[in-house]
Structure formats: structure tokens, C-alpha cells
Homo-oligomer: 292 residues x 4
């Protein structure tokens, strides 16, 4: 960043502390943090302000919290006693090239900025954010596997379902640790890439016959793929780790019935590496601001 | 393959010898090879036939050579004295679910089968074929790098341009050999994935500043990216390897002028690993026939 | 194992359950297990016996528990109410080529078998056992690192001290997970091998200047190397993991004083992977019996 | 190097050009080069001198060529018309703490310096030099494999014999390129380490049964291990690469008789990476001078 940037952060959780620190340090930026009174200013390096003390016209970027903004413009805070109220009049005063960031968006938020022709970036809808977050997700899966088995990952038979953003990282990291990794996908191109990366590939419809010696079964597909018929084929000491967001891709009831341990491991980046998760956001935000 | 398949191969080069052998061996298939008289039948295992001695109605698949068929239906052969003449009447007798394979297609070929509602698979347009072929391509690049430098890949500064099907394989293999690999791309998601894979990522517009200590510069982008302004920044002992198809992505004239060695390394799969290249075709053909 | 082997296991902990199962299954062996009454016979597959019901003359191997035998010949059991008493007269009846295994030995044990010219194998003194055990040790270190930090291993600065059997495995696995690994050793050959493996090497006397940006410091050297002067250089959020056996190689008191978290992570194989730890023993025992 | 060093290089081949340049550049050193008249001084940066113009008393180190010195004190040059004559009187005037380097030594050379209590370092007898050189050796083996086969290393069955300094590097690099690598050794500890590194290990006496599907057989053991009985088991299209120094470890005559291609690939570091080979020498020389 060659020119000085002025950024307002309106609320946020633990991940945002690192994000603020990182934006403040490495970029040529002044960060105003609203809703962080319970955190010592020295901790993040950001300058704590009340919303009314910030001049919207001076801002290059506004960063909203991960869950975005309620339909009445209310922002819930984690590190403050009072919530923040975003008003249309405040937004109206933002400069035309100001970029607004949120974790996830909703119709209210999207419309709010669209009709003003302001750029709204929904961070968690971005491919790059999903890929960066797949790293702490994979490490969380590794920790879970080591903790919940009585054997090493090295030398174990691991089946990974799905080869999207999370599946790629999970499979390659278990492979790097010496597991014998098989990856199932429905895509021809995935089958080829899995082989290129030195793992074994199979089409998902062959899943039933692939799981007979599985030690660890890791699902990343957001659909019910680990059904009863699959669980029936699993050795009873298999560990199932489901990474797919709710409701997940595993018949947990049936797994329990068969006495197979199945863990639905969610929100791993925030759990195993909140600092990295915050840093990912600052990296991507900086890149977007540089390129815009 | 559980049911017996009958496949006709009409012409083809060295890669097809392995393809025929592999189809004949590992699949439950009978392969009729037309246009291979100069090759001993025992070599491929396929059954050599004249086109007229094959009953089209019995065929599950027809495999045309890599360059496809001329606009008059003529097929040039490599291992025979006479060319093969494909007639519309012959095609008319193919069963409805017969699959036709070619390396690349053209308007004539596409229309020929489309109007008969026959499935034509253009192998080299497939993502999986491109990914499988990226492996021998990467090995060819490795051989070129070892041969044309007086230092080891291990420890050298390698810049790879492009992170598509070839770029991914090339970058990860040089990384595996201990090079310090930087990869340039225009895509945010690539930047994230490159980092996840343990390499250094940069946006292509930063290329000029990234090449100052480069030992080996490898291009996979089919556009002129290694221009004069980039070549000017390169140390004079840098080796440039351009993998992009003609005309490539390097200003070869200017490289020569500056005394920088630049190699346009084309058709590497056929050169360094014709057997693997043939095997790739048989793997993909088998998968398609199984799934159809 | 082509000929049938008869093996007596006299006591042992959780690791021995897997060892018995594995010996019984994969080798052509009959295993008599003494001191495992609390375990269902079906669990290990071994045949439970009283010591007096076993004919020593029929034995090819005797396996004593990890800690060996007390100086009066007493063997403490984990899965039985009563201990086992090994008598000289019993030992006198073992065949000349019977091999005796123990985890660690002592003067009493060594002399007991030496004077009878019987081969005593002290498993934990073997290089191969130490190397196999370095795998679960490294995975234990990985789990500890993920659990006790708020950042990912990927991209973090990890310093490993020592490049012996444990150090090699730990360093290469953190490297495989994408950490930037520096390894310190006093040996020239280690420095070269560390470089060859794609990591950064330094001579241990340069340690003070190497730890300034360290995120995770892992010690494997059984000597006080992480002294006050080193800890003074560490960033305060560094995590220290000491893998060296008691008393370890870290000034834990001073680390605590500086507010740096330091974990003495011992006996990791038995903790994170008892099944693998037992399997390692059976693999090595089988190899020794095959080769003898 | 904090204090200025004065170093005399007496003769040497292409590798020494890079060594001189590297010593001159990165160390705080003055390098006098004798026997390099045919090379432009600007090329190496070293200062060209006649032997008689150098004051032995000022020297911290003398570097003799790789093959050392003839028994009459004669040094053969590669880049000069005249040879160099080392006299006892010249040596007598070297300071007591001067270090003398040679590639390999002989009785004459050893005695010459021993009786004067001068430290003679025989570079090629050092473990670290052998390990560093194993890197270009492995890359040479890779180039040979790619060039002399019609299939990719990726996915091929590679058997490596010996797990010493060269064997470790060769095996791990073929593994990194996606080959299915089996390594044979006689040492228990090697078997364990090979497994830890994610490759398949076998005891050498099982070699006959291990080679039945081998695509590439690479020997690093300096003894006749690839005998007739082994070659008889190999598929006829196997490529044998023997890296062991003369006479090698392969029955080349019998391989030829069976029509199996066997390549004795010697002196690879000097062939594929003379610059790296020279750099290795300068790295090790600098380390020794720093530590002494
Ligand atoms: N546990 C955690 O901490 C954590 C962290 C991050 C993400 N997640 C969750 O993990 C899941 C995967 O995320 P991602 O970023 O990897 O998503 P992604 O990139 O979309 O990958 C999902 C893969 O599954 C495939 N797929 C989808 N539906 C399928 C079906 N019915 N049958 C077969 N394959 C199917 C997709 O193919 P197509 O591309 O053709 O749809 C894609 O290849 C999501 O639920 C995400 O919310 C969890
Ligand atoms: N030498 C050989 O033996 C050999 C073997 C195989 C392939 N090839 C050739 O290698 C080249 C790459 O093949 P591939 O399969 O990797 O293709 P690919 O998957 O399409 O990858 C090419 C990459 O370059 C990017 N790109 C295209 N135009 C660009 C531009 N103007 N500026 C910046 N980036 C650009 C593409 O981005 P988008 O996706 O956004 O376009 C894509 O990421 C092709 O020319 C192919 O014919 C050569
Ligand atoms: N935490 C666990 O679960 C666990 C598991 C297994 C082992 N361990 C322990 O981990 C430690 C390392 O085991 P290991 O099998 O790796 O041993 P190792 O193979 O002997 O390696 C130790 C390395 O440290 C070096 N070293 C010894 N003293 C040194 C000193 N004063 N200064 C510098 N370097 C020194 C050794 O060099 P030399 O070869 O020259 O002595 C050797 O390279 C031991 O204490 C072992 O009991 C712990
Ligand atoms: N082609 C080239 O460019 C090139 C480059 C460098 C080196 N080399 C040559 O490559 C060979 C290996 O070098 P290196 O540095 O790896 O040597 P190394 O470290 O001594 O390794 C050789 C390995 O072979 C084992 N071995 C020796 N004799 C054996 C036998 N009869 N049966 C079974 N195993 C045996 C050794 O075990 P022990 O340790 O128990 O003896 C050791 O593990 C040497 O001949 C060397 O000169 C060639």
C-alpha cells in the first residue's frame, strides 16, 4: 500500500483482533476500531473510536463483523457492552470508492450498498478465503484424528470424500503425514489431479467397496454421502470425521448404533487458529484494497 | 469392465501402440487395430484387421487417431502403407450407443457424428486428459532444466508462470525437488492455493520485480507474458523454458539478443513418455466406456 | 515365518495387547499370554495360560514386559491380579536358540541370560525401534502444537533442536505440514542432510540468533540446551515443546518466569498411539525371529 | 568470516572456478589463484598469481586440486599451460594454523602435512561433502531415468539399492516425483527410516522377489549386488542405473546379454551441476575455516 488508507472496523470477534493488528502493522493504514472497549488499545494497535467520532468521508474501507449487520442496521459486538447502530445517513456519507467488507451477507446488506453503488465484499463467499481457511481446517482434522485414534496417521488408511477447497487441503496434508490416502469425487478432472498428487482416486459411486479397510473416513461433501449402506461396510474401529457444515454428510444416528465414532468437527479455523483466521482476512482485505 | 467390449482403432501413432495393448490387457475387451500392419501383432495384442472386415454393428467404441479425420473422411496412418477411408455408410451402421474417440476434433468431424446422435469424445479437450498429460510435461521440464543448467534444481530460484493444469504440476514437482518456487497468476484463488501448497505466490503484474534473482523461468501461459521488459530484468544466466503451445509466451528474439537461453519445449508427453501418454488415453477411454 | 513359532508373553501393558494380536495374526505363531486374565481372550487372539502350564522347552521366544523383570525375578502385571514369578529353573529349561525380548534391561536381567548364552534383545535400545517410535512421537508433537497455539503450523517458524532419530522425524513432518523449519545440530553431516531435505540448517552455537522469530521451539536433545540465554531471546508467545526424556533440555522455571508456555511432552507413543506402539514391537520381534 | 582470510588455490578444474568466485564473494577473503591463466580474472574474481609471488606466511588456507598432488609435489593444471611444483621449502613456510584442503589424499600428501603438524582436510572423505554431492547425483539419476525410458517416473516402480548418503537422496527424490519406491538395505535402522519416510523397505536378501515388476532399478551399493540371479528376475524393459563407483554393482555383461539396458552413470555432480559442485566445496571450506 503506497498511499495511506483509513479503515473503520465496526465490531467483530477474536479473529478481528489479529486482523486489526495486522492491517495496522503491515499496511500503510490507520485503523479505527469501534466496539472493542474491553480490549486494551495496545493489544491491537488500532485506534479505538465511537462511531460518531469517525468521519465517513475519510474512509477507504469499512469492515463489518463476520455475521454482517441485522436488518435494522444493528451490529452486535463481542468486546463491548453496547451494540453499534449503522444508519443510512452515515452510509450515505461514505465516498464512492469506499469498499465495504462483511463475512457473510444477506439481502438487506446487499441491497443497502448496491443501491448506493458501493462495492460490498462478502469475504466468506470468496474462493481465496475458503482456500486459506482450508489450512486451519485441515490442521483441525489432523488434531482430531491424532486425538481420537490409538494408531498413527502415518501408515493408516484414510478415505477423504470430496476434492473441493477443503478436500484438497485435507487429503494432501494427510498424505504428507504418511497416510495411505484415497480420495473420492464425482469429477473426472479431480480423479486425474488426485493421481497427479500421488494419492489414489476413485469415483464416488465406488465408495461402498473402498471403505472396507478404512481407518479414518473424512467427509467434506455437503450432502448425505456417508449413508447407512456405507457405514455398514466400515470396520467398527473406524473414526469418521465430518467437516461439512450442518447438517453434515454422515448418518450420525446409524454410526452411533453401529458403535462407530463419528465426530462432526465444525468451525475449526476459529477453534484451532483464530490468529491465523484473522490474519487471512487481513491478507485478503489488503489485496483487494491494493488492487482497487 | 464386466461385459465384453468391442473396440476398433483406426490408425494412430506410437502412443496408440501402448493404448491398444493396455485396452486389450486390462479391460475385458477385443480390440481391432486398422492401419498397423508394420507392427507385429504380438506387440500390441490387438487383432489386426482391414476396415472392411470389421462389422460396425458389433462395435462399442471407435478410436480415431489424435489429429482426427480429414474433411473427406481420410485417416492418415503412421504404421501402414495405405491410408484409411472412413465412409458415411460405414458410420451409419454403428450402433446408437457406440462412442467415438478422437484426439482433437474439427467442424467436419463434430457434425458427422452430431447429426447421427452419436457421442464424439474429443480426448485432448478433456480436463482429465490435460491433467494426466501435465505429468510427463512436468518431467520433460525437469529433464530440460537439469540438462541445460550447471546448477541443481535443489536450492535454485524457479519462477513458474500460470497455475492451470500444467502450471500446477510443474510448480509442485520443482518444489518437491527442493527448488524455491514462486508462482505467478492473475487469479485470487490460485494465489491462495499456491500458498497452501507451500510455495510463494504473486500476482502477475508484479512479475518485473519477481524475476531479479531467477535461475529458471518456466512459462505455461498461452499469451505473451515474458516480454522484453521482463527479459530485461532477468540475470543473464537464467534459463527460460516455455511450455505454452505455439507461438508460446516468450519474446524469443529479445532473449537471444540478450544472450539468455530460452527453450520452447513442446509435445513433451510424446517425447519423454510415449508409453505413459498412450496409457493415459486408455485409462480415460476405459473410464468413459465404464460410465456410459 | 515359514515354520510355526511358539512364543510366551509374560505380562505387559496396553501396547502388548496389540502386539499379541499382531504376532498371533500375521505370523505363523502360537502366542501364550500370561498375566492378561482381565482381558477377554477373543480381544488379542493369544491363548491365555498360567506360567506353570507352559513348557519352556517348546518356546522359540519369551517376551518380557517393557520395564523388564525385578531383581528377584518378579514381573509386575497390568491386566492381572497376581504378578508373575520368573524362576531360574524355568529359564534353565529354555532351548538354546530361544530369544528373550524385554523393553529395557538391567544388570540382573542381562547377566541372567548372558550366563546361559541365551540371546536377550533389549527392544528400546534398538535403533529401529527408536526410529519407528519417532513417528508417533512426531504426531504427538504435532497434536500438541495445534492444540496449544492460536495459529497454524503451516507458515509458522519452527525451530527443531537435534537431528537424531526423533529430531529427523519431527522436523520432516512439520516441514511437510508447511512450517518454515530450521534445525540445529552440532554435526556437519546433519547440516548437509537437513539442507538436502529442504529445511534450513544451523550449527547449535548459533542458536541465540536463530530463535528471534520462533513461533514453536521443539527440543529433542537430552541436555540443557534451551537455557536462560536462549529463552531470553524468544518472543513471548513462543510455544516450547520439549520431547527429551527427563529432566529434558529446557529451563522450565525460567520459561515460566518469562511467561512462555513450555510443555514437557513425554511418552507420546503410548499416549497418542498405543496400538501402533504395540505393532512396532511385533514388527521388530518378527523380523528378529525370521532372521535368527 | 569476521577477519580477513588469505587463501591460495593451486590448480583445479571447472568446479574450482565457482568455488573461487564463491569464496571471494561471500567470505571476507582474498583468494590467490595459481594455474588459471586461461581464465579471465573477471570471471572468478580471484587474483591470479604465480606460486612464487605468494608469501606462504600470509596464508590461512591452501586449496589443492581434487586429485591432490603427485608424489613428487607436482600439481597438474587444467586451465594453464604449465604445471605447478609444490616444494617442501614452500610448505615449511606456511603458518602453523594454516589449513590445507585437497579433494582426495594419498600417503605422500598425508605424510607431508602430518609431519609438519599442519591440518590436511580431505574434502571427498567428509560425510557432509558426500551428502551435498548426493543432491546433484540424484538429479543426474532423475535426468537419466527420464531420458532413457518411455514412461514417467510418476507411477513407476523404482527399486533403490543401498540407503547410505547417495541412496537416501536418490530414493527420497524419486518418491517426491511420485514413483512407487522400494529401498533395499541390510540395516535394521534403514528399514525403519525408509518406512518413516513413506517408502517401502526390504532386506536385501529378499531382492530376488522384489524386482519382478521393477521399471527402474538404481544401485548405490559399491559391491556386486545386481548379479545374474537378480537380472534374471527383471522384466526385460527395466532400466538399470548404477551409481556406484567403478567397478559398480551390476553384472553389465549379463544385463547386455539379456537385452536389459544398464547405464553406469558416474561423476554426475561434475556433469550435471559443476557450479553447484564448486559451491559445495566453498560452503564446506568456509564452515571449516570459521570453526577453526
Ligand atoms: N469444519 C470446518 O471447520 C469447515 C471449514 C471450512 C469449510 N467447511 C465446510 O466444508 C464443506 C466443503 O467446503 P469446500 O470449501 O471444500 O466446498 P467446495 O469447494 O464446494 O467442495 C465441495 C466438493 O463436494 C462436491 N459435492 C457437492 N455436492 C456433492 C454431492 N451431492 N455428491 C458428490 N459431490 C458433491 C463439490 O462438487 P461441485 O463443485 O460439483 O459441487 C465439491 O467438489 C462445506 O460444507 C463447508 O461449509 C467446514
Ligand atoms: N509443452 C508441452 O509439452 C505441453 C503439454 C501440455 C500443454 N501444453 C500447453 O501449455 C499451455 C498451458 O496448458 P494448460 O493445460 O495448463 O492450460 P490451462 O489449464 O488453461 O492453464 C493456463 C493458465 O494461464 C492463464 N492465462 C491464460 N491467458 C492468460 C493471460 N493472458 N494472462 C495471464 N494468465 C493467463 C489461464 O487462466 P484462465 O483459466 O483464466 O484462462 C490458466 O490459469 C497451453 O498452451 C498448452 O497447449 C504444452
Ligand atoms: N517425548 C517422547 O515421547 C519421546 C519419544 C522418544 C524419544 N524421546 C526422547 O527424545 C530424546 C531424543 O531421542 P533420539 O532417539 O532422537 O536420540 P538420538 O537419536 O540420540 O538423538 C539425539 C541427538 O542429540 C544430539 N545431542 C546429544 N547431546 C547433545 C548436546 N549436549 N549438544 C548437542 N547435541 C546433543 C545427539 O548427538 P550425538 O549422536 O552426537 O550424541 C543426537 O544427534 C531422548 O531423550 C529420548 O529419550 C522422547
Ligand atoms: N555416480 C555418481 O555420480 C556418484 C556420486 C557420489 C557417490 N557415488 C558412489 O556411490 C556409491 C555410494 O556412495 P555413498 O556416499 O552413498 O556411500 P555410503 O554412504 O557408504 O552408502 C553405501 C551403502 O551401501 C551399503 N553397503 C556397502 N557394501 C554393501 C554390501 N556388500 N551389501 C549391502 N550393503 C552394502 C553401506 O552399508 P555400510 O555403511 O554398512 O557399509 C551403505 O549403507 C559409492 O560407490 C560412491 O563412490 C557415485
Amino acid at each position: 500500500l503506497t498511499t495511506e488508507l483509513t479503515i473503520a472496523v465496526l465490531g467483530g470477534d477474536a479473529r478481528y483482533l489479529e486482523m486489526i493488528r495486522s492491517l495496522q502493522c503491515s499496511a500503510n493504514a490507520s485503523v479505527f476500531a469501534v466496539g472493542f472497549e474491553q480490549i486494551s488499545q495496545s493489544f491491537t494497535g488500532g485506534i479505538q473510536r465511537e462511531l460518531e467520532d469517525i468521519d465517513p468521508q475519510s474512509l477507504d474501507a469499512v469492515i463489518l463483523p463476520i455475521p454482517g449487520v441485522g436488518s435494522n442496521g444493528q451490529i452486535e459486538t463481542v468486546f463491548s457492552d453496547k451494540n453499534i447502530q449503522l444508519t443510512e445517513s452515515w452510509i450515505d456519507r461514505l465516498p464512492k470508492d469506499c469498499v465495504i467488507f462483511t463475512g457473510i451477507t444477506n439481502d438487506y446488506l446487499t441491497e443497502l450498498f448496491e443501491k448506493r453503488n458501493l462495492r460490498l465484499v462478502s469475504l466468506f463467499d470468496r474462493d481465496d478465503v475458503a482456500i486459506y481457511n482450508s489450512i486451519p481446517t485441515a490442521e483441525g482434522a489432523i488434531m482430531t484424528a491424532i486425538k481420537h485414534t490409538d494408531f498413527t496417521i502415518h501408515g493408516s488408511n484414510v478415505v477423504v470424500l470430496g476434492f473441493g477447497r477443503v478436500g484438497k487441503s485435507v487429503a494432501s496434508k494427510f498424505n504428507a503425514l504418511g497416510a495411505i490416502v484415497q480420495v473420492g469425487s464425482i469429477h473426472d478432472a479431480d480423479i486425474a489431479r488426485i493421481s497427479e498428487m500421488g494419492m489414489r482416486a476413485f469415483f464416488l459411486d465406488r465408495l461402498p467397496e473402498k471403505v472396507k479397510d478404512t481407518d479414518i473416513l473424512i467427509n467434506t461433501i455437503p450432502a448425505l454421502v456417508v449413508k447407512r449402506a456405507i457405514i455398514e461396510q466400515l470396520p467398527v474401529q473406524t473414526l469418521i470425521i465430518d467437516l461439512a457444515s450442518k447438517p453434515g454428510g454422515v448418518d450420525f444416528d446409524y454410526a452411533k448404533k453401529r458403535g462407530i465414532e463419528a465426530i462432526h468437527a465444525l468451525s475449526l479455523p476459529g477453534i484451532v487458529a483464530p490468529k491465523t483466521a484473522g490474519n487471512i482476512l487481513s491478507v485478503v482485505i489488503k489485496q483487494i484494497l491494493i488492487n482497487s
